[in-house]
């Protein structure tokens, strides 16, 4: 009796140790970034695990740089535009793929899936040319266009799974009421798909906000950069003197909104991720 109790207690202890390890492992790097960002530069190179004193000078240093603030604005503009475009095109495409049976539907689905597997580098030179021809080089427009390559297939795929879950009879009722496909989509389905659109939009936003390769390649000047590029390119006197305080401050600034969004919408995000991967 006592032996099984002991065994159970040990197991329970082990389990909780594991849980704590997981939480620390997952959150420590971010926590440590916060700790670092709040240190004055004089203490930067003393390793410390706790926030001893709060010093905002790193944040002041970062936010007083016009280019960094501009890059935040660029990121917001790019990410929001990408979300809007992906949702608009994704929703119409998802209606077609999710609710209408027609010849070639499977082929279109495979095509969309195929594009989502494209390595970005594989289209880099061709896309570079397209962007230059359209005169979108070094502008948010070029990034908005190029980001559809990874947001659109994903959006289409997830919205299609959600679209398929809507009952057939609802659409038939709309047909009986004389609604055209466009009216059915905008007046009947769209209001019902808001949760799905919020999820997909959020995932597309995060993907666009985090993108690096295109942003690095298709922009040239500080004023057109997005946040990831701006952070990657923060540099000091030499490679060995990186200004870690401001870098961490900038990292925290661009991450906090995302972390808050993710924590608020965690249920949605999980369902969106699994809809895109498991069911898709």
């Amino acid at each position: 009796m006592t032996l099984t109790h002991l065994k159970r207690a040990v197991l329970k202890l082990g389990f909780w140790l594991m849980v704590i390890t997981l939480v620390v492992y997952a959150t420590f790097p971010f926590y440590y970034a916060v700790v670092t960002s709040l240190k004055p530069s004089s203490e930067m190179f003393k390793v410390g695990y706790w926030i001893d004193s709060v010093d905002w000078s790193n944040y002041v240093a970062v936010l007083s740089q016009k280019a960094f603030v501009q890059s935040i604005a660029n990121s917001v503009i790019v990410a929001l535009s990408v979300v809007a475009i992906a949702l608009l095109l994704g929703l119409t495409a998802a209606y077609a793929l999710g609710r209408v049976r027609f010849k070639g539907r499977t082929r279109v689905m495979m095509l969309v899936l195929g594009v989502s597997m494209f390595p970005q580098v594989a289209v880099l030179s061709g896309l570079f040319e397209v962007i230059r021809v359209l005169d979108l080089y070094n502008s948010p427009g070029g990034l908005i266009l190029s980001y559809t390559i990874f947001t659109l297939p994903f959006t289409v795929w997830v919205l299609t799974t959600f679209m398929r879950q809507l009952p057939d009879e609802l659409e038939e009722a709309a047909i009986m009421d004389g609604a055209s496909p466009w009216v059915t989509l905008t007046k009947v389905f769209m209001p019902l798909l808001w949760p799905a659109m919020a999820t997909t939009g959020l995932l597309a936003f995060i993907a666009a906000w985090n993108e690096f390769l295109f942003a690095l390649t298709f922009t040239l000047t500080d004023s057109e950069r997005t946040v990831p590029v701006a952070i990657a390119l923060i540099s000091g006197g030499s490679q060995y003197e990186l200004p870690w305080g401001p870098i961490m401050a900038a990292s925290v600034i661009v991450t906090v909104p995302l972390v808050i969004l993710v924590l608020i919408f965690q249920r949605r995000i999980v369902s969106g991720l699994t809809a895109g991967a498991v069911k898709g």
Binding site: P167, E169, L170, I175, M176, G178, V183
Partner: protein, 365 residues
């Protein structure tokens, strides 16, 4: 005029015939019920009329116009769905107004039509509610309201009461009957419930495996079923069937030898070709009376169900199924009694070995 004509209408999905050359005519203002077991094609037939499915072969006429190619709205049909399919994000008013607005009616006439419809269906107090906030019966009425708001010539109902509980079902059945009287429009109604079919229909269409078994008034179907299938499908409890052989028939009477009950004489004649061949005798429970046994032809009573207004007596016969009798509620027969059975021979039906009814001589004359 909104009569409906189906002329050799077929529907195929790939190589399966869901509807096989069905011909049917529905008069203006008639209440027609399609009934049959699941998978018989009754819903598909309704959807063909609605325009939700395309017709593979044959002609569908509404009035004197061929409508095979027309959209539901051009056909002038309204439909009530099994799941109601109300637009969840719209209020009751918006649900009913949606089709009217799409029909480009002016906003005053939309408001007027919706109000009028709401009055007919007693939905006036609920117009601002969302479907979520309605009871099952209220949702049902909204679904009907949405279908009739555009004043279609033909109303289609696809198992509209199957999601309601029993007491509400009776109430809604009466409301539908009243609505039909009031609107006078043609109604085509699909159900698998033969009680709904019997109580609502002017004309019942019994479907089986994609073809029509019988068309007729509820009384005709009950009293003169054209086949064993119809006979067993209509009526509850189901008709009893007894195997036997036809011994002789003339203008006035028919002698049959039943395996379980011996010789029975029916007071009508049938086609003389039946003589000598195996037949099935069908008898409804109310026409089969058990009496306390006297002779050797006694059967054991398996169970007696007391239903308040009547009793069902189940009798173990030598037939593959036990026999059901309907008797007065105050019957003295109890379980394990031995009884002999009396057949009300005038009410007995005869079916040939293919399950087709043997027509009575006086009926065919």
């Amino acid at each position: 005029m909104a009569s409906v004509q189906l002329e050799r209408v077929s529907k195929r999905f790939g190589s399966t015939h869901v509807i096989d050359e069905v011909s049917l005519s529905i008069d203006h203002g008639e209440f027609v019920v399609f009934v049959g077991p699941s998978g018989c094609g009754k819903s598909t037939l309704l959807r063909l009329i609605a325009g939700l499915e395309s017709i593979s072969d044959g002609d569908l006429m509404i009035g004197d116009k061929r409508v095979n190619e027309l959209s539901p709205q051009e056909r002038g049909v309204g439909m009530v769905f099994q799941s109601y399919a109300l637009y969840p994000h719209m209020s009751v008013y918006e649900n009913m107004a949606f089709g009217l607005k799409l029909g480009k009616a002016s906003s005053e006439s939309v408001a007027e039509r919706v109000k009028e419809t709401a009055r007919i269906l007693q939905l006036e107090a609920l117009l601002e509610r969302k479907p979520k906030a309605l009871s099952g019966g209220q949702r049902q009425r909204v679904a009907m309201g949405r279908a009739i708001a555009r004043e279609p010539d033909i109303l289609l109902f696809d198992e509209p009461l199957s999601n309601l509980d029993a007491s509400l079902r009776v109430q809604m059945r009466n409301e539908i009957a009243r609505l039909h009287g009031r609107l006078g429009s043609t109604i085509v109604y699909v159900t698998h419930d033969q009680v709904e079919a019997m109580t609502l229909a002017d004309k019942i269409v019994v479907l089986n495996k994609g073809h029509i078994e019988q068309v007729g008034s509820p009384r005709t179907l009950y009293e003169r079923p054209a086949s064993k299938f119809v006979a067993s499908f209509i009526g509850s409890p189901s008709m009893n069937f007894l195997e036997g052989t036809c011994r002789s028939t003339d203008a006035r009477e028919t002698r049959v030898e039943l395996k379980a009950l011996g010789e029975v004489v029916l007071p009508y004649g049938v086609d003389s070709n039946a003589v000598g061949s195996p037949i099935t005798l069908g008898i409804r429970p109310e026409h089969l009376t058990p009496v306390q046994a006297t002779g050797s032809d006694a059967f054991e009573v398996i169970n007696v169900e007391y239903l308040g207004n009547e009793c069902c007596v189940y009798v173990d016969s030598d037939a593959e199924q036990f026999l059901t009798c309907r008797v007065e509620a105050d019957t003295s027969i109890a379980r394990n009694d031995t009884v002999s059975l009396r057949i009300d021979t005038a009410q007995a039906h005869l079916f040939d070995e293919h399950g087709q009814a043997l027509v009575r001589a006086q009926d065919s004359a």
